[in-house]
């Protein structure tokens, strides 16, 4: 009864023949992951949800990732779950730095609402068509996208400096706090 991810990929290739679907491979890719073009994301998700053979009715989570300095820089990861078939499937969309835009999937799974807000909050990825794309975990007046790799760790703006004109941007001494390099290398 259990559905294998290879079968899901095959169904998608049959249904979307002209669309560039790329299976992500790598040394330790532990989950079957398919990279799909952003413009077909909603159609693919709707198909995966509605196809009676697949029934991916749940989106347990989606999230962003930053792969600086790679081009395209960002990624959105969608983890899909089919309760009826007992299977999971992972979709990815690659997002360029200049125009970090992805169509929203809130119309397919309403649960995507908060996840997409979180990805926007952390990475500044815009989800077009999202009903309420605002910051969710950070304060609404926060400047910058904290989970981007070029955003440093360990600095917090002094409270209430936003009341002083000219001090709304983080101070330039931030560069000192740039990510530490790993000192040891694997053999």
């Amino acid at each position: 009864m259990n559905l294998v991810p290879e079968h899901v990929e095959q169904r998608l290739r049959e249904r979307f023949p002209g669309v560039a679907l790329e299976r992500q491979t790598g040394e330790a890719m532990r989950d079957h992951t398919l990279i799909v073009p952003a413009e077909h994301l909603v159609a693919i998700c709707t198909f995966l949800r509605d196809d009676p053979e697949l029934q991916f009715a749940m989106l347990p989570w989606m999230g962003g990732a930053d792969y600086l300095p790679r081009v395209p820089r960002f990624e959105c990861i969608y983890n899909l779950l089919s309760i009826a078939r007992g299977a999971r499937f992972t979709l990815k969309v690659r997002v360029p730095e200049e125009q970090p835009r992805v169509p929203t999937v809130t119309g397919v799974w309403p649960t995507a609402n908060w996840h997409e807000r979180e990805a926007y909050d952390f990475y500044g990825i815009t989800f077009t068509g999202h009903p309420d794309l605002t910051r969710i975990l950070l304060p609404e007046d926060w400047v910058g996208w904290p989970l981007r790799k070029d955003s440093p760790l360990g600095y917090e703006e002094v409270a209430f400096t936003h009341n002083t004109p000219g001090r709304t941007v983080p101070s330039p001494s931030l560069k000192k706090l740039a990510p530490k390099k790993v000192r040891y290398r694997a053999q």
């Binding site: 790598g26 330790a28 347990p60 309760i83 799974w109 990510p179 000192r183």
Partner: protein, 388 residues
């Protein structure tokens, strides 16, 4: 009228804001506003080794620390492609099931307080205290246990632990009877929860709700059965289901889960006994795991491994993994991306409370304001996990 609801739930003081749009006593719109407890765990994890992130996870859902530890360790183990010894799996199952009992105790006590039944709280916290002292025994900490490690446990279980767990597990069903005596047929309790905050199975799935809240709506989905980890496929237990998806059903599911957890814990104790009260508690793959301290004192090779693991941790292969466990509140998963270095390139935490809270408006819109309190209690949220 628009008001800010609460705080009324003990875990929401100052950290959860629920904006309600009211028409008289009826809720027209509901918007939970979160983020007050955000500590940037996902960002911090990128600057820490995998092992250093384990204590962080204790602070997510701070009433079930070991489930959080387990999820991170399993995801890292999946990334490494290793599986821990059976004895370790049995100990992990035993302790996470006790965690489930204690988490449900906290939930039941606080949920009952919200609704006005103060007595239950004292009973529940009495049992929770026993679980905390078991944590204390294994790890030295009552709440932030950090007892699991990638590839095993921090140390072997102490002598007498199994007897203590067994005593607790044997007594627990009678205590659950006590809770039920106070609530299950209590007319006030039924009036406040029956038919309140209903969530249909379709809505629950569409909103990504997991755990007892999903099963309360009658969807048979428990990761311990459907995507078994840590050898759960070898345990005999049932998955309690609700039918109407209201607050009362979620209550019954959790109470039944406490009984099931005692069954699982009992089987786990037997397993650990069979494999020895002392024995293997870590993988013997010293590229990933610290060698036992006794060997470090005598073997040069073990000392080198010890030094390397402590100094820079282990180096997983380049890749990604996502692994979820059935935490007391639902699906708790860690998505890890490794770039081959000793720190994760990306760690995404899929926390059940975050997703379950999002379904709150679905449950309460169009209902009475008093039901919002019962609804928040019945979905069992912990803000530490929501905001991470």
């Amino acid at each position: 009228m628009t008001i800010n609801m609460g705080p009324q739930h003990p875990s929401t003081h100052g950290v959860l804001r629920v904006a309600l749009e009211l028409d008289g006593e009826n809720v027209v719109a509901c918007k939970p506003i979160i983020g007050y407890l955000h500590t940037g765990m996902e960002k911090q994890a990128e600057y820490k080794t995998y092992t250093q992130s384990i204590p962080q996870t204790d602070r997510m859902d701070y009433i079930s620390p070991l489930s959080n530890n387990l999820a991170l360790c399993l995801s890292a183990e999946k990334l490494l492609g290793v599986r821990v010894p059976e004895r370790v799996e049995a100990i992990r199952v035993l302790l996470t099931e006790l965690t489930r009992i204690s988490s449900h105790c906290v939930w039941l006590g606080t949920h009952a307080i919200d609704i006005g039944a103060l007595t239950v709280f004292w009973y529940c916290f009495r049992e929770r205290e026993k679980v905390l002292s078991i944590y204390d025994m294994v790890s030295g900490a009552r709440m932030t246990a950090s007892y699991f490690r990638v590839g095993g446990l921090a140390m072997d279980i102490p002598a007498g632990l199994l007897d203590r767990c067994e005593k607790f597990v044997d007594e627990m069903p009678a205590h659950v009877d006590e809770y039920e005596k106070l609530l299950t047929k209590n007319p006030i309790w039924i009036a406040r929860t029956r038919g309140v905050a209903p969530l249909s199975a379709t809505d629950a799935v569409a909103w990504g709700v997991t755990g007892p809240a999903l099963r309360g709506s009658g969807v048979n989905w428990d990761l311990r059965k459907t995507e078994p980890y840590s050898g759960y496929e070898n345990y005999d237990f049932d998955v309690p289901l609700g039918s109407r998806g209201d607050a009362y059903d979620r209550f019954q599911v959790r109470v039944a889960e406490m009984r099931e957890s005692t069954k699982i814990a009992k089987q786990a104790i037997q397993r650990v006994r069979q494999m020895g009260e002392t024995g293997e508690y870590r993988l013997r793959d010293f590229k990933y795991v610290l060698p036992p301290k006794e060997e470090v004192k005598t073997s040069m090779e073990a000392l080198i491994h010890h030094f390397k693991i402590v100094a820079h941790g282990f180096f997983p292969p380049v890749g990604e993994s996502y692994m979820a466990v059935e935490a007391p509140k639902g699906e708790l998963g860690f998505y890890l991306v490794s770039d081959g270095s000793s720190r994760p390139w990306r760690m995404k935490i899929r926390s059940p409370s975050f997703v379950n809270l999002q379904a709150l408006p679905v449950m309460v819109e169009g209902k009475l304001i008093a039901d919002v309190i019962a609804a928040i209690g019945s979905i069992d949220i912990v803000l530490g996990e929501i905001d991470r």
